[in-house]
C-alpha cells in the first residue's frame, strides 16, 4: 500500500465536549480499524527509527506499525507486548508528544504519526478479540516481593512472573493499580482496563495481597525472613504538598490526591456512594500539571464551575497539551499568571474565596523556566467554595522510616543505581515515584522493567 503523505494525522474521535463534561465515560473513543490502517500508512518505517529511542521502554514502534498496515493487529500487539506490559494504559496516558512522537520524522514538516493512538488501538483490539488466556510459566521456586501495585510494581511483577519467579505483590489499598486507580480518572483511563492488566498478572501466577502496608503491617526485613530473595519497592509518591498559606485547613480545601481518590478509588461521584464528596459551586484548582487537569475536569463533571490557577503562562503548563485542550473544550477557565496568597473562609470555617497576586514572567530560574514575579498591589479575590491544591507530592516516609540502611536523597526519594535500580541495600530495588518524585506512568514502568532485569541477573548468580 502507498504511504499516506497527509501532513495531518487522523483525528482522535471524542465524546462531544458539552455532553462529556457531565459524565465520567471515557473522553477519547479510539480509532476504527480503517483509521488505524490509514494512520499507520503515514509511518515511513525509518531505518534508524528515532521514535524508539524516545520511548522509555523502547517499544519497536515501526515494527508494530508495519503490522497495523497489514491489518495484522494481533501481530502488532505481540510486538508491543515484548517491550511493554501495559499497552492499553500507556496508549492512553503516556505523554507521547514529548517522547516517541516528538522524534518522529513526519513531525518535522507536519504532524508526527499518531503513535500513542495506534498503540491504544492495538491494545484495545487485542483486549476485545483475544480469547487466549495467559498461562502460569513453570516456577523456578524463587520468591520475589513487589511493594505497590502501581505502574512500576505491575511491570516489575509481570516481567519476573514471565521468567518463572514466584511473585507476591503487596498493596496498601484495597484495590490494585496504584495511581492508575486512585489518581487517573475513569474518563481518561477506564478502571476496567486496569483491572484487565491486574487479572493478566494473576493469570501469570502473581499473588496479590491487598491491605498490606509495608513499613507497618510488615517490614522489608520481615519479607526477607519470610523467604523472599529480592524486594522491589514501587510504593509511589506520597504526601501531598500544600502552599503553607493561610486558610488551607478550611473546609472545602482538598489536596488533589484526596479529591481524586474520593472520586476514582471510592467512586464518590456515583449516586448512592458511601464516600462523600463536596458538590461545589465554583472550584479553584491550584497547579498546572496533569493531576490539576484531572482534578479540574472531575470537579466540572460533578457540576461545578472550575478555574485553574497557575503562576506562569499557558506555555509553561506542565500538563500534556491534549489534557489542556480537553479541559478548555469542557469549559474550564484558565487564570494564568496568578498566584494564591491566602484562602478566605466564612464564619463556619468553609472556604469563601481565594486571594491571588497577579504575576509576570522574568528571567529563567534554575529549572530553566521563566520565573514568575509578583506585580505589586495586584491582589484580587476569586470567589470560590472549594480549593484543590495540586502542587505535587513528596515521597512517603513509611518504608524509609522502617528500613535500616535504605538511603534516601534530601527530598526523601530512594537513592538507586540508574542502570539496575538497586538501592543501598542488597537485594532491594526501587523505581517509580518513590525514587523520582511525581513523574509519568511510562517512566515508572521503565524503572520496573529495569529492576526486573537486574533482579533476574542478581538471583541467577546467587
Amino acid at each position: 500500500m502507498a504511504a499516506n503523505m497527509s501532513l495531518k494525522r487522523n483525528e482522535m474521535p471524542t465524546q462531544d465536549a458539552i455532553i462529556r463534561a457531565t459524565n465520567f465515560n471515557e473522553v477519547a473513543l479510539g480509532y476504527s480499524e480503517e483509521t488505524a490502517i490509514d494512520e499507520a500508512l503515514r509511518c515511513l518505517n525509518c531505518k534508524n527509527a528515532p521514535c524508539v529511542a524516545g520511548c522509555p521502554v523502547n517499544i519497536h514502534i515501526p515494527e508494530f506499525i508495519a503490522k497495523v498496515k497489514e491489518g495484522d493487529f494481533e501481530g502488532a500487539y505481540q510486538v508491543i507486548y515484548q517491550s511493554s506490559s501495559l499497552p492499553a494504559v500507556c496508549g492512553r496516558v503516556c505523554p507521547q508528544e514529548k517522547q516517541c512522537e516528538e522524534r518522529c520524522i513526519r513531525g518535522i514538516k507536519g504532524e508526527s504519526v499518531g503513535i500513542g493512538r495506534l498503540e491504544r488501538f492495538v491494545a484495545d483490539w487485542h483486549n476485545a478479540h483475544c480469547t487466549e488466556t495467559l498461562k502460569k510459566p513453570e516456577s523456578n521456586g524463587i520468591k520475589v516481593a513487589v511493594i505497590g501495585s502501581g505502574p512500576s510494581g505491575l511491570t516489575c511483577a509481570g516481567e519476573l512472573a514471565k521468567k518463572g519467579y514466584e511473585v507476591t505483590v503487596f498493596e496498601a489499598l484495597h484495590t490494585a493499580g496504584g495511581v492508575l486507580v486512585y489518581g487517573i480518572p475513569e474518563f481518561r483511563l477506564p478502571k476496567a482496563i486496569v483491572q484487565k492488566e491486574v487479572d493478566a498478572l494473576i493469570a501469570l501466577g502473581v499473588d496479590l495481597q491487598t491491605n498490606v502496608v509495608i513499613g507497618k503491617t510488615l517490614t522489608i526485613e520481615e519479607l526477607f525472613e519470610a523467604g523472599f530473595k529480592a524486594v522491589f519497592v514501587g510504593s509511589g509518591a506520597g504526601l501531598p504538598r500544600f502552599m503553607n498559606i493561610e486558610g488551607e485547613s478550611l473546609n472545602g480545601v482538598y489536596s488533589a490526591n484526596e479529591f481524586l481518590t474520593r472520586n476514582n478509588l471510592m467512586k464518590a461521584y456515583k449516586e448512592g456512594s458511601d464516600t462523600p464528596i463536596m458538590k461545589a459551586k465554583h472550584t479553584v484548582v491550584v497547579g498546572g500539571g496533569n493531576v490539576a487537569m484531572d482534578a479540574a475536569r472531575t470537579a466540572k463533571r460533578l457540576g461545578s464551575e472550575v478555574t485553574i490557577v497557575y503562576r506562569r503562562t499557558e506555555k509553561e503548563l506542565p500538563a500534556r497539551l491534549e489534557e489542556v485542550h480537553h479541559a478548555k473544550e469542557e469549559g474550564i477557565n484558565f487564570a494564568m499568571l496568578t498566584n494564591p496568597v491566602k484562602i478566605n473562609g466564612d464564619e463556619n470555617g468553609w472556604v469563601s474565596g481565594i486571594v491571588c497576586d497577579r504575576m509576570e514572567l522574568s528571567e529563567p530560574d534554575e529549572s530553566g523556566r521563566a520565573r514568575p514575579v509578583k506585580i505589586p498591589n495586584s491582589e484580587y479575590e476569586i470567589m470560590t467554595d472549594c480549593v484543590i491544591m495540586s502542587i505535587g507530592t513528596s515521597p512517603n516516609p513509611l518504608i524509609k522510616d522502617t528500613t535500616n540502611g535504605l538511603e534516601v536523597n534530601k527530598y526523601g526519594g530512594i537513592i538507586v543505581d540508574e542502570e539496575t535500580a538497586l538501592t543501598s541495600l542488597k537485594g532491594v530495588y526501587a523505581g517509580g515515584d518513590a525514587v523520582t518524585g511525581a513523574a509519568t506512568v511510562i517512566s515508572a514502568m521503565g524503572a520496573g522493567k529495569t529492576a526486573a532485569k537486574a533482579i533476574d541477573e542478581y538471583l541467577k548468580n546467587i
Partner: protein, 280 residues
C-alpha cells in the same frame, strides 16, 4: 475478607467486635488504628485499635454507630465477613519511662484509652483513670478500667452514675491537690480533649491527645487528615494520631470534623431505613 470472630453490644450506640486479622494483631500497639471497609462498595473508615490477641490473631475494635458505615458494620454478626481491614497504622502511644499517668477517656474514646492504661499498668506505672459519659446508659468498660487503674473515677454529665459533671472536674481537683503526673493521656471528643488540655496547661503537665480526623488511605497519601500542630501542618495518619495537646489547634480540627456532617446524617438515615425494610 476478614471474619468477625466476636460481637458484643456495649451500649445501644456502641459495639465491640473482634476481627480475624493475624498480621495486624501481630503488630498492633495501643494508640494505633486500622482502616476498614464493610463491603466492596463501602467507604474506608479509621478506627483506633481497642485491643489485640496476638496468638489468636484477633484485633478488637469498638465503634459508635454514628453514620452509614458504622451502622452497616453493626448489622454484621459473628461469622460474617467484612471486605477490608488494614493496619496497624499510625504511631503507637509513647509510654516509655512513664511512672505516674492520668488516663482520661470520654464516651467511645474510652475504648482507645483502655489499652493504653493496660499497657502502662503492665509496665508497672501508677495509673489514675477518669472516664466520662453523657449518662449511665452509655457507660462502657468500667470493670476493665477498674482492673487497669490504681484509681478510677467515673463521671456522667447528668449525674445518673458516678460524679455529676465532666472529666475535667476530678482532674482539676487532683491537680489542685498537688498530684503531679508525668503525663496526662486523653482520648475522646475534641471538645473534651480541648478542655483537658486547658486544665493541665496551667500546671504544665505534658498532655497527649489522640486525634481522629477524616481520613481515606491512612498511609499519608490523601492529606485529608491534616491538622495544625504548633503552626505546622501534620498528617494524623503518619505523624500521629497522638499529638502534644498543647500544640493542637482544636477549633480548626472541630470545624474540619463537620465537613461531611450532613452527608453522614443522611447516610445514617438511609441505612436505618434499609434495615427497617429488611426487618419487615
Amino acid at each position: 475478607m476478614y471474619k468477625i470472630a466476636s460481637k458484643k453490644v456495649l451500649n445501644p450506640f456502641v459495639t465491640q467486635m473482634e476481627i480475624e486479622a493475624p498480621l495486624v494483631a501481630k503488630k498492633a500497639e495501643p494508640g494505633q488504628f486500622i482502616i476498614l471497609r464493610v463491603d466492596s462498595e463501602g467507604e474506608r473508615i479509621p478506627l483506633t485499635v481497642a485491643g489485640y490477641d496476638r496468638e489468636k490473631g484477633l484485633v478488637k475494635i469498638i465503634f459508635q454507630i454514628v453514620g452509614g458505615t458504622t451502622n452497616k458494620l453493626n448489622q454484621k454478626n459473628v461469622g460474617d465477613y467484612i471486605s477490608d481491614f488494614v493496619g496497624p497504622l499510625g504511631k503507637a502511644t509513647k509510654v516509655d519511662g512513664l511512672k505516674k499517668v492520668c488516663i482520661i477517656g470520654g464516651g467511645v474514646g474510652c475504648a482507645i484509652a483502655l489499652p493504653i492504661a493496660q499497657k502502662l499498668k503492665e509496665m508497672g506505672a501508677e495509673v489514675d483513670s477518669i472516664i466520662g459519659f453523657r449518662n449511665k446508659d452509655l457507660l462502657i468498660l468500667e470493670e476493665e478500667f477498674k482492673a487497669a487503674s490504681d484509681k478510677l473515677v467515673v463521671t456522667t454529665d447528668d449525674g445518673s452514675y458516678g460524679i455529676k459533671g465532666n472529666v475535667t472536674m476530678p482532674l482539676k481537683e487532683a491537680l489542685e491537690n498537688g498530684i503531679v503526673y508525668d503525663e496526662v493521656i486523653t482520648v475522646g471528643p475534641l471538645i473534651m480533649m480541648k478542655f483537658v488540655v486547658a486544665t493541665t496547661k496551667p500546671y504544665n503537665i505534658p498532655t497527649t491527645v489522640s486525634m481522629n480526623p477524616i481520613m481515606i488511605d491512612g498511609t499519608g497519601m490523601c492529606g485529608g487528615c491534616r491538622l495544625t500542630v504548633g503552626g505546622v501542618t501534620k498528617f494524623a495518619c503518619v505523624d500521629g494520631p497522638d499529638f502534644d495537646g498543647f500544640l493542637i489547634d482544636f477549633d480548626e480540627a472541630m470545624k474540619r470534623g463537620t465537613t461531611y456532617r450532613d452527608f453522614e446524617r443522611h447516610a445514617y438515615e438511609n441505612t436505618c431505613n434499609l434495615f427497617k425494610k429488611e426487618a419487615k
